[in-house]
């Protein structure tokens, strides 16, 4: 299997979906791709969601780097790399996952379009299309729910070095997935532009690479997030006093969504058929987030809908090539999908997921949760007291392991994983697969074990599986043992995992 998946995460929602996907891949959810290249397009570089996702991706990469040699296990099984990593060292663009948008930081939109130098007729046209508030928008925090600004600024993508490098590294068997929200600014504007740029790459004079022809007929999946959260209303006085031009109004979400869907119908999903598989995901049961356009870092809680969106990416990769045929930039048989759960409840657990979703994520997610919980709560005690699985065979799992960079990265990833679960648990609609603060015997929400399950049971399983395995690296040993032991525990102690 040698097929790359380029995932464009546009705007804050795109970033959070990439985070959810990374969590799934860390837990060993299988995706039919040899490597994944997330490309984040978000002008708001100080966005805390973006920072958190970057940190998570870097942790994942560091762990993967150690595990990848001889890694037959499921945890961290998929390679995640950056676009610069695909390129030879001489041409490297940088080491991060983001697309560098030029002239955005500290720029007002009117400066970006050189408003002052426009002639009268162009100025009149601009004034017709953009409000005064639009023109005064400082774009370092994104396009603040204004897709009309985004559609101008993001048009620079097609001429960027990043896009050229993306085009030159795109191979025939590779696929593309674009994640965006329809009710905001950056995602709503960026998706159609990016899609258009990809489909017309062959006719773009700036991209003079042989591979660009593959882009026009690339297998492209896309996901658009319909409204799934709101923002708190801001009183009029505050709007007048502070930053009226920057506040987001949730009342416009539905109208923006309708307008964008109409646009998509005309230009993407209609007779154009630009996308091979299109996923619509949203939720009517929403929570109002703090109305922060970005000045305070934009740190939104993770949401179950983002997890569902990440599953769409996995689903897209499961679709056979024969169902994603594209000719002359048009998908021959486009696929449209939605996502559903078994019960319309305020709070979901693993058993409320659809059968197919359960099959995909229930076991790996629980295995990973149990593994991280043990490593965090029990490993130190085990090393101190001794168990056959830590010191029966070389390599020994000893105190040095606890100070290794691998373990440190794993602990950091655990913090991110716990925060992600916590945030999904307190959001609306909430998703609580696990009881985070409960002890190991009672930590899977709404799923009880057939027989008593303690760390003692865990150690017993680890001791048992350790007998049958041999490893040269301690990191491989730990992850492989936990993968198999958690699987044995789930199948033997819980009837729901059989």
């Amino acid at each position: 299997m040698d097929n790359k998946l380029f995932i464009f995460g546009i705007g804050g929602t795109g970033v959070r979906v990439i985070k959810a996907l990374t969590m799934l891949l860390a837990s060993g959810v299988y995706i039919k791709s040899s490597q994944i290249i997330p490309i984040i397009i978000d002008p708001h570089q100080d966005n805390q969601d973006l920072q958190r996702t970057h940190q998570l991706l870097r942790n994942y990469q560091k762990i993967y780097k150690i595990l990848r040699e001889d890694n037959n296990g499921a945890f961290f099984n998929t390679k995640i790399t950056t676009l610069p990593n695909l390129i030879s060292s001489e041409e490297r663009l940088g080491e991060n996952f983001t697309f560098n948008l030029k002239d955005v930081a500290d720029f007002k939109f009117k400066q970006y379009i050189d408003h002052t130098t426009l002639d009268d007729s162009n100025k009149a046209l601009v004034d017709l299309l953009f409000s005064e508030a639009n023109l005064e928008t400082v774009m370092d925090i994104g396009f603040v729910g204004n897709p009309n600004i985004g559609s101008v600024v993001l048009n620079q993508i097609k001429d960027s070095d990043e896009f050229k490098h993306f085009a030159s590294n795109f191979k025939k068997n590779d696929r593309i997935f674009i994640v965006s929200s329809i009710f905001g600014g950056t995602g709503a504007a960026g998706f159609p532009i990016l899609l258009n740029n990809i489909r017309s790459a062959n006719s773009n004079d700036n991209i003079k690479v042989t591979n660009s022809k593959y882009l026009s007929d690339a297998k492209i999946g896309a996901l658009t997030m319909l409204p799934y959260f709101g923002v708190e209303p801001v009183d009029q006085e505050q709007i007048n006093e502070e930053k009226g031009n920057r506040q987001i109004n949730k009342e416009t979400f539905i109208s923006k969504t309708k307008a964008a869907l109409d646009y998509y119908c005309e230009n993407i999903t209609g007779h154009n058929q630009s996308v091979n598989a299109f996923y619509y995901i949203g939720d009517e049961n929403t929570k109002d987030y703090k109305n922060d356009p970005g000045d305070h870092g934009q740190k939104n809680d993770a949401h179950f809908v983002e997890l569902a969106a990440a599953l769409a990416i996995i689903d897209f990769m499961n679709i056979g090539d024969e169902d994603l045929v594209t000719e002359n930039g048009q998908a021959l048989s486009p696929i449209y999908k939605e996502f559903g759960v078994k019960a319309d409840k305020d709070s979901l657990n693993l058993l409320d997921l659809g059968d197919h979703t359960q099959q995909m994520i229930m076991t790996p997610l629980t295995q990973f949760f149990l593994c991280l919980k043990y490593l965090d709560e029990e490993l130190e005690t085990t090393i101190r007291k001794g168990q056959p699985w830590v010191n029966r065979k070389q390599p020994n799992v000893n105190k040095q392991f606890l100070t290794s960079s691998f373990y440190r990265n794993l602990k950091q990833l655990k913090q991110s994983f716990d925060s992600w679960l916590q945030e999904m648990g307190r959001n609306h609609r909430s998703f609580k697969p696990f009881r985070l603060n409960q002890d190991i015997s009672n930590c899977i929400n709404e799923i009880e074990s057939n027989r008593k399950f303690t760390y003692n049971t865990f150690n017993s399983s680890l001791n048992e599986v350790e007998r049958k395995q041999n490893h040269t690296l301690v990191e491989h040993k730990v992850m492989a043992l936990f993968e198999q032991a958690t699987m044995e525990i789930l199948t033997k102690k819980f009837s729901q995992f059989k």
Binding site: Q387, P388, R392, N456, N459
Partner: protein, 142 residues
Amino acid sequence: MNNFFAKIYELTIDAYGYNLTEYLYGNGEGMSTYVLFGLIQIGISLSTVLIFYYIMNRPDFNRWYNWALIGFANIILQFGFVVLYLNIQLQNGVLVVDGVGLYEITMFSLTAIVPVALIQYIIFSFMLRWWSTNCSTTPYPQ
């Protein structure tokens, strides 16, 4: 076999006196008490080791002091059995030898039975622990 066990048990003969050994060695008819004790000691030590490593076999009961505790129980059991057995023989008039009383019986059990029980427990532990899932590194890693 009688001579074999006699050699082992009589290493500490000074502690309990020659008189008791006469009874323990027997007169060549039937199974001697030495053989009886020898086989029972092997049986109890082996059973204790098997119970610890394969029946209990618990990750939360595999520290060296857990092993030592079971070993201690093994010794107490064997010590108690021998004292009780010989004392019953004494009370019932089966063991009638001059100069042999509860003191000699206790000293025999303490100096001959206890060390053998201890050594057997250690030997059997190291022979049989390898295949235990949760206790193969008890009392210390291999």
